[in-house]
Amino acid sequence: MSSARENILQRLRGASKNIKPAPIPNMQLPAMSMADRLTQLTNAMQLAHTQIIDTTESEWPAALLLLASEQKLKHWLISSASASAQKFADNAGLCQQPLTLTRYNKSFALLKETVFHQIDASLTDTAGAIADTGTLLLLPSVAEPRAMSLVPPVHVALLRTSTLVSNFNELIVQQGWPDNAMPTNALLISGPSKTADIQQTLAYGAHGPKALIVLLIHDHKELDRNH
Amino acid sequence: MSEHTPSIPAEVYFFGTCLIDVFYPDAGISAIELIEREGIKVIFPPQQTCCGQPPYNSGYNDEAIEVAAAQIALFTRPIPVVVPSASCAAMMKHHYPRLLEGHPLHAQALNLANRIYEFSEFLSNTVNITLQDKGPPIKIVLHQSCSARREMQVTTQTMQLLHQLENVEICEPERASECCGFGGTFAIKQPEISAAMGKDKCDAIKKTGVLNLISGDCGCLMHLSGMMAKDNAPIRSEHIASLLWRRTR
């Protein structure tokens, strides 16, 4: 089959090309103020059925426990090592209903059954977010594997406003790509899983989470957080 | 969109198009009268025939080239060429230079392309015409052809002319921007699809309740009025030049 590669490349190289590379115009997208970013993020997320709970660094565990008891989310999948998972675990006993926390601390093959069939919700961190489209950036890692934001029916994500950028271009700059190597898997998530494949009728919970809930931690320094 | 000539020209060529020649000569005469009334001399080279679009759109470029070359040779003076059809105008403006690539007349084709004006565009942009409506109140549906919309991009100019007629009310049928299904030889080669598109367009026009159909393209008019007539629908169709002349003379 290696001849296929040579044949294809040879045909391509031999072809006349009338398209000369031209400098790509830099389309300047306006950078938004923090207030605008928050407004835009909220609007875009609401349009996509992402639920937002406004909170703070100190209050989010309580907000999460309230959510868990209100929505009867008993069995949680959490990170094996993150600080947020630890904070959740430390506070879990305060919840009005007993919670089971499963840490994603072994290989998927060993946890697959639990992850697919027993988990009610997962909690993950986020690496940032795009205001323009109401999009979370997740960078799955050893501590927070890929399936956490995919398989459980409810995905709860912690987002800090200080990581919020205006648009996708800014996110690439924020992450330092491509100078910083691309992570194994980088995910932009903009709502719960959905489909309109049956007569253009929107239905949520196609294959991934049926609900995406963002705990929005207002930790940025600017003064316009009251807006 | 064409660059406007800075001042109103003293003379223009008129390319009548083959459909107007045989089926809608009244539209041609009306267009010429309107231009002449503005003090512009209209030159109608009698050797003109067709822009060559039918074979070009059917993939018969050699035949199209010969006929196009014959037209190019007729419109050589550096004055505007007014064409009362967006699709023929688009052929001459956008497709001649491509069609005649490598042909001895290529430079002339380019030169001609820069002087092509669709009729409404010419009256509205170049002449900046003022129209005084003398007719009784009517309602019309304006069908803007795909060439008028997408190739010549003269829809606003056409509307600008009609808006000057104070007793004329313009109604928009649903899905106004969708093709009527004419497409030249398409209507002959794929009559079923063409007719399905035409029927939807006719239905949308009928639904407005308006009995006057106006267009700047006689191909669409012939197609739609032919379908309406087959259906005994009492709709009167007319080229925009005829309407403008009839109501302002």
Binding site: N185, A206 | P25
Partner: protein
Amino acid sequence: MTPTFRQRATDALADKALRSNFRGAMDFLREKRASVFTDERELAELRALGHQIRANVLSRLPSLLEQLEAQCQKNGIQVHWAETPNEACEIIYQIMHRRNAKLAVKGKSMVSEEVGLNHYLETRGIECIESDMGEYIVQLAEETPSHIIMPAIHKSKEQIARLFEEKIDGVGYTNNVDELIGVGRTILRDKFFKADVGISGVNFAVAETGTLCLVENEGNGRMCTTIPPVHIAITGIEKVVEKISDIPPLLSLLTRSATGQRITTYFNMISSPRKKGERDGPEEVHLVLLDNGRSRIYQDTHLQETLRCIRCGACMNHCPVYSRIGGHAYGTVYPGPIGQVVMPQIEGLEKHGEMTEGCSLNGACGEVCPVEIPLADLIRTLRQKKSAAAIPPDNRAGIGSHRKKTEAIAWMFWKWVHRAPAIYLMVTFAISRLRLLMPRSFGAWTRYHSAPKPAPQTLHELMRHRKQATSKEDQL
């Protein structure tokens, strides 16, 4: 004999349910797209940018493919090259065979449809389940997709409800869409759980970083690329882009043009298989780069524009022909305007030349194309090639395969009339004088139209009279 395009189109036009399903869907998608492109200037700038990015890719296609391959390999992604559909299928089969795989789950991939992967694997004892809801419905109905983005767009929810009732054990009739999706979710979750291999397409492959990008809403794409131990991605060689910074404008153009979404639920950037210490993700990731005629398209500097396509489907959503006849009438994997351009080029004009006739050259497709492909011009060029008189020695493209003697003679006759003013004047004069004797029937035209009536005098004549009259006036 297989029915012709015209026959299939005629049948589709007579199918009332199909007509109404497509009309509703196309109106919906057009409106959705318009709702996210409200700023015309921004749209124009963005399309020009998309055009330029894709054109630049094509200008450096071979070197970008090599760069993509090198980066992927550096990241641990195994790269395979296939010249033909069969080669691509065999590569995928061999990977699965080596892993002793019996069940594959597949995310939406038109390239996998193009190579006929499901059938190839099925005949070799491997079950390949479509997991995109639309694709799943189509597979269940033993049909093919009728749209490249929304595969089951030809079906109403009632038709899907009956299909589920009939084909899935224990499912009764319900036309509640949430319930229907729930059924699909349950069945397919089990497949994701059990699958040995996940297969996906690729929307953009970034050469600079060796990253495979997938755009989707359902999460099945993520399932296919995350849960099974092996992930095989298949894509056409033109899908490469140069840099990660090219992605934001292309993604925005793609999702807004396709479904009127500012972004899809998931944008999945895969740059490597599971790394040491990581707890999930596939152990192996493979990328199959398919040529299948693309390098031949690349040879022609005009037709090369075809390869800018990012497969958003906006051209078909806005096509007045597709809107009425639907995707199956084309009889090809890719329907609509892009199909009319791609299919005759990859599978030859001889086979697919006729479909280029199913176009009124209205230009609605090119007007909405996010990368400004002049689709109508390309269709016109293919018409020219299929009817060409001169046939090249190596004619795999099928040049001249549809040239008909009668048609060629008719155009030659037409040319004689129109290039010689004297003959033209005679003919048009005759038509105007014989107007009352014109036949009532002109074949196809008069089936749907009343016969056109020539005017009593041509414009040429009227202008001659006018000139004579003015010169007389001048003399007086």
